[in-house]
Every structure is written in C-alpha cells, then in structure tokens.
C-alpha cells in the first residue's frame, strides 16, 4: 500500500513538472491566436447628401484620423479643431492674385494643389487657358527645349505658392493639431484616406474608445466646411465584416442611410474671402 502511495506521489510530481514546462515552452514558441483576435477593425464609411430627395454619395479621397480616447478625454483638442480659422481654397488663391481660370481648374476636381491632375493641352490654349500654366510652359520650353515636356513637367516652373501653397498651409495646420492630438491622447494618431465610395479602414486596433475626426475642416459642396468628431468603440475581435461605421453630414436625408448614420458632422458656412493679399505671406 505504501509502495502504491509513493508511486502516486511520484507520478503527480512528474505530471506537474511536465505541465509547468509545457506551459512555459508553449507561449515562447508561438504567439497565441487569442492575442491576434484581441485587435479590431473600423470600417469607416463617409457619405454626404444635400437635402430631401437627393441621393447621398460617398465622400471620396478625404483624409480621416483616429484619435485614442473619448470625446470627453480629448475635449481640449476638439475645441482647438472647432476653433481653427477657416480659409477656403478659393480665398487662398484669390489672395495670391491667381487667375479665375486657375481657381476654376482647381475647383473642377476638388484639388488642393496643381499636382492633383494632369494639365492638358486645353488648359494652356484657347479660351479656358490658365495664365499661370502658360507662363510655366514658356519657362519650361526654354529649359528643356520641348513644349510637350514643359507641359508634362509644368509644376517645376510654377511658384511654390501657386503649386501647392494651399496644401502646405493645411499641412502645417494639420501637423500642429496632430501634435496636440498625440499629446492629449498619449497615442499615435492613425490616418486613412477614403476611396471613391467614401470607404476607409482602420486596422489592427486595440480595443477601446476612439474619436474619428477629419481634424481639418472639409469643404463640401463648395459652400460649407464640415467637421467630423465622432466617438467609436472598438471591441475585441471587431472585423472588417462588421457593419460600416457610417458618418454623414446634416444634409444627408437619404432614406437608405438615415437609420444607419452613427454620427453627423458640424457644418459651418465658408466665410467670405479676406481682402486681397492678406494671406500672401504663406
């Protein structure tokens, strides 16, 4: 009997030892799948509408940011975002004394800089020609000996302000606010750009509360600026297959969207342009 008891004690010790060894070895060899499942995804969808009867459309190619923490926790940042001075693209270029043709060219494709799209032959010749482009091509033709190459490389002969001054001004504002956001939230701010359907993904997220924000006001419909600051919760294992997190503007009355909208923007009318050359120092 004592021999049996001794054997039982020994095998218990043995089993315990092996189990504890495996428990130590296991995690050191591979990451547990559970750890990966604890991350989440936000499938963001941004759609805007212009009132009753109008179909809502995806807001394409706009940058959105994900800030860690709740709206309350980021209160000072939200105030800074909403108090930022508004200067429309049209006003910026008018302030530089840019031609109306250039302002129209930028507005056509909602461009923040000349890099936005190719300058075509019709943009430099005929009634719709843009004076700034004509001047740049003339300079390029001298440098490269080819009018066609001068057109394709047009941006290298434009002044910095005309070329991408508005974009850089917004980037400066953005960097200031991003810095503030990272100080307040004590975490890196993630960013994505919406595709043509207004969809974007934030991936590999720690569970918790976040704010989806465009940080800089987005001009929509050419007459108003929209601010999105929307709180969203990420649960462990949230997947891209989840329903999209739909955000919209107050004007979206599309019955397809209305019930699914999680958050609406705060819209402000674009202010009138300041007097000419007020912003020429940028």
């Amino acid at each position: 009997m004592t021999r049996t008891l001794a054997r039982q004690i020994t095998w218990s010790i043995l089993g315990l030892t092996l189990f504890s060894s495996l428990a130590v070895i296991g995690p050191s060899q591979t990451q547990t799948p559970a750890a990966a499942d604890l991350r989440g995804v936000i499938r963001l969808r941004v759609r805007i509408g212009s009132g009753e009867g109008a179909k809502a459309k995806g807001l394409a190619r706009k940058r959105f940011f994900l800030i860690k923490g709740s709206l309350e926790e980021n209160k000072s940042l939200m105030q800074s975002i909403e108090q930022q001075p508004l200067l429309s693209r049209d006003c910026y270029y008018r302030g530089l004394g840019a031609s109306e043709a250039l302002i129209h060219w930028l507005r056509e494709s909602d461009c923040e800089s000349i890099y936005c799209r190719e300058v075509e032959a019709k943009d430099v010749e005929g009634a719709g020609a843009v004076r700034e482009f004509q001047e740049a091509i003339a300079a390029g033709e001298k440098d490269f000996g080819s009018r066609e190459l001068a057109r394709k490389w047009l941006t290298v002969n434009l002044s910095d302000q005309i070329r991408d001054g508005y974009y850089r001004r917004r980037q400066d504002e953005l960097q200031t606010l991003l810095k503030h956001a990272e100080q307040v939230s004590k975490a890196t701010v993630l960013s994505v750009m919406t595709d043509l359907n207004g969809t974007a993904f934030f991936t590999d997220l720690e569970p918790g509360t976040y704010v989806v924000s465009n940080i800089l006001a987005t001009e929509i419909f050419g007459n108003s600026a929209s601010f999105w600051n929307c709180e969203v919760k990420v649960k462990p294992g949230d997947l891209a297959t989840e329903k999209p997190f739909l955000i919209s503007n107050p004007g979206n009355k599309d019955p397809r969207d209305v019930r699914n909208i999680k958050c609406r923007s705060v819209d402000k009318p674009l202010p009138a342009c300041p007097t000419a050359n007020a912003n020429s120092g940028n």
């Binding site: 030892t17 212009s50 936005c116 941006t155």
Partner: protein
C-alpha cells in the same frame, strides 16, 4: 524490529527507488525549456556563436581590393551623390532611345566623368596598359575606345532600395474624378465612378501615374513558374523604372530634388514583394476585363504607408473580393472543398499550389459571413 518500524523502512526504501525518475524528468524539462529559448521561430539557432579566428591569422590574410568592381557601400564612396553624378547628364536625349515608350526627359543617364575616379584612384587609373579599374564603366579597356556598359543595368543586383512615402503622394493627387463634359462641382457631379473607361478621357493623377498596367510579359523566376502557371501580362501593375515619374515634380524645387539622390535611394537590397494570389489579374478580371473600383478600395492601408519597407498588399478578402456579385461563390466552393478534405484539397482558383495547399486564413471564412 517492530512491525511499525519495518513498515516505515519499506516506505523510505520505496521512495528512494523512485527519486531518480522525477529528477531525470525534471532535468529533461529544463533542457527542453533551454532549447526553446535557444531556437527562434524560424528554427534557426540564435544562440550559436561562430568560432572566431585568432586575430593574428586575420591580419595575415589582408583582403585584396578588386578594383574592377565598384560598390556604393564602400565608405569612401558615400559622399554626396552630386560629387560624382551629374543631373542631367549630357547624353540624356540620346539615352532616351533605350526607352522608346517614353518621351525624352532630362535624366541621370551616364556614368560619372573620369575626374570622379581619378581624384582618389590615380594609382589604379594609370596602372599597366589595361587598368582593371576602367572595367567598372568601360566595355573595352583601351584609350581609343570609350564604349561604356549600359548605365542602368536592370539585370544587375540593385545596391539601393527606394524610399517612397505613398501617404504624402496620395494626399496631393486627384481628389475627385469627373465624367467627361461635366465641369460643374455640384452634388450631381459627386457620382461614384467605378468604371475606369470614363477616366481615360481625362488623365487624373491617381495610382496609375506610376503603376500602369504591365505591357510586357513577366520574367519567369529562376526556379520556373509554380504549377507551370504563366501569369498573363495583365496580372501585374508596373512600378517606375526610370526617373521620369519623379523628376517631373522633384526637379528643382520640390524636395528631394534631382541632386539629392539619397532622398529616395537608400543603400541596401531592394525590397522584393511576393504575390499571394498569383491568379489575380489587376487588369483582366470580370466581364469587362477590368477590376472595378480603384487601388485603395482593395489596398486599404496604402494611403497611410510612409515607407516601402515591410509594405504588404493588405487586401481584405471582404469586401474587396468576396462581395456577392464578384467572387463570393468561388470562395464558398473552394472553402467547402477544402473543409471536406483538409490538407488534400488545394485552392487553385486564385492561388498556385504553393499557397493553395495551406490552411485558408480566418479572413476567408469570415468573408462569407459578410
């Protein structure tokens, strides 16, 4: 000896006889634990150290410099690029003949001049009738022949990787594509343009300004195509092979400019990217022989990629591929077949067997729920 004492002695003896076994097993466990720490997940020993040769022996075999080979990684060759390279070189118009599909453009299209070499390598430059150092650039070593090797030899192993921030570039390209003859910016013009034929009318700066559809058949890997599947030309998009896509903006003002080579070129092996779905055809899918949507619809993380290092395709199966009207049925069939015979069935509708024989990731199954 009383009975109780005899019993106690028996118990002690039996314990002694079994003490060796647990000690040995505990030792074995400790060895296993030690091994697990010594080997990385790839199975390579991380703790191994090569035996070092005695210093005296190393000194005895001083390496001989091979002056017929040039390397940018040599410390003395890491001055500012423009100390050797001229941008543009005088031959740029002539050199453009190598790329007939492109209009000529000012480029760095030739080796640096002799001055760049002579200022340090005078001794090697004038050594013998046929100095080996000349072979770095010249195909024939002769004072009467200035023929040079092709400056841009794409077959040679690259010395540089490219640093390219997709995020910055994505910000400045087209905000909205428009339909032809539609110049108003009204809500009506904010339409979903999923079908590329419209955009062909006006050239908008989207990803295709750098990543156009391939026009040449892909070169087979050294080990041959897996499953003998030769991907059609429209499988791949191309990446820029020349400076034309960069210099058109980064010529003189917009940094990094043409003389700041290190702004884009970093010493190190070029990044190589692996295709997971070899049978996916960027420009060949669907009835219209063209995948609808735009690049960022599938490559969901590209707009935040600040570098090419470690860049992944990041294509979520849902909703990119598995939405109802596209590939959901095929995905369903493949997964069902795999589940019937795990390990034996290979998913070959999208993959070659090197990928298709692996267990489908969870994303594939989850896509069907979407």
């Amino acid at each position: 000896m009383p009975h109780s004492q005899r019993k106690l002695r028996q118990l002690i003896d039996s314990m002694k006889s079994f003490q060796l076994k647990p000690v040995a097993l505990m030792l074995l466990s400790l060895i296993l634990l030690f091994c697990s720490q010594q080997f990385s997940s790839s199975g390579q020993a991380t703790g191994q150290k090569r035996r070092t040769r005695p210093a005296a022996r190393q000194r005895a075999t001083k390496p001989v410099t091979n002056y017929s080979k040039f390397s940018h990684s040599t410390r003395q060759h890491q001055e500012a690029c423009k100390s050797c390279h001229q941008a543009p070189t005088n031959n740029w118009q002539k050199a453009a003949q190598d790329y007939p599909s492109q209009d000529p453009f000012p480029d760095v299209a030739d080796f640096p001049g002799h001055d760049s070499c002579v200022r340090c390598h005078r001794a090697q430059f004038f050594k013998g009738a046929r100095p080996v150092i000349c072979g770095v650039c010249h195909t024939k070593i002769s004072p009467r022949d200035d023929a040079r090797a092709s400056f841009r030899n794409l077959k040679a192993p690259g010395e540089f990787r490219i640093e390219f921030p997709h995020d910055k570039h994505q910000d400045v390209i087209a905000a909205l594509r428009r339909r032809p003859n539609s110049f108003d910016f009204t809500p009506r013009s904010l339409v979903k343009l999923a079908h590329p034929p419209d955009e062909k009318v006006s050239k908008y700066n989207n990803c295709e300004i750098c990543h156009a559809a391939a026009t040449k058949a892909a070169v087979a890997p050294a080990t041959g195509w897996i499953d003998a599947y030769v991907p059609p030309t429209d499988t791949f998009k191309v990446s820029p092979e020349t400076h034309a896509s960069c210099f058109n903006c980064h010529w003189n003002k917009q940094a990094p400019t043409r003389n700041d080579c290190a702004g884009c070129h970093k010493l190190g092996a070029p990044e190589l990217h692996t295709r997971i779905s070899m049978k996916f055809r960027h420009d060949g899918g669907g009835e219209k022989k063209n995948h609808v949507g735009e690049c960022a619809t599938c490559h969901i993380n590209i707009t935040k990629a600040a570098t090419l290092r470690g860049l992944k395709p990041d294509v979520p199966i849902f909703p990119s591929c598995a939405t109802s009207s596209c590939h959901q049925k095929v995905l369903n069939e493949e997964l069902n077949n795999y589940n019937k015979a795990p390990g034996a069935f290979k998913c070959t509708k999208c993959h070659t067997t090197d990928v298709g024989n692996k267990k489908p990731p969870n994303s594939h199954a989850m896509a069907l729920l979407g």
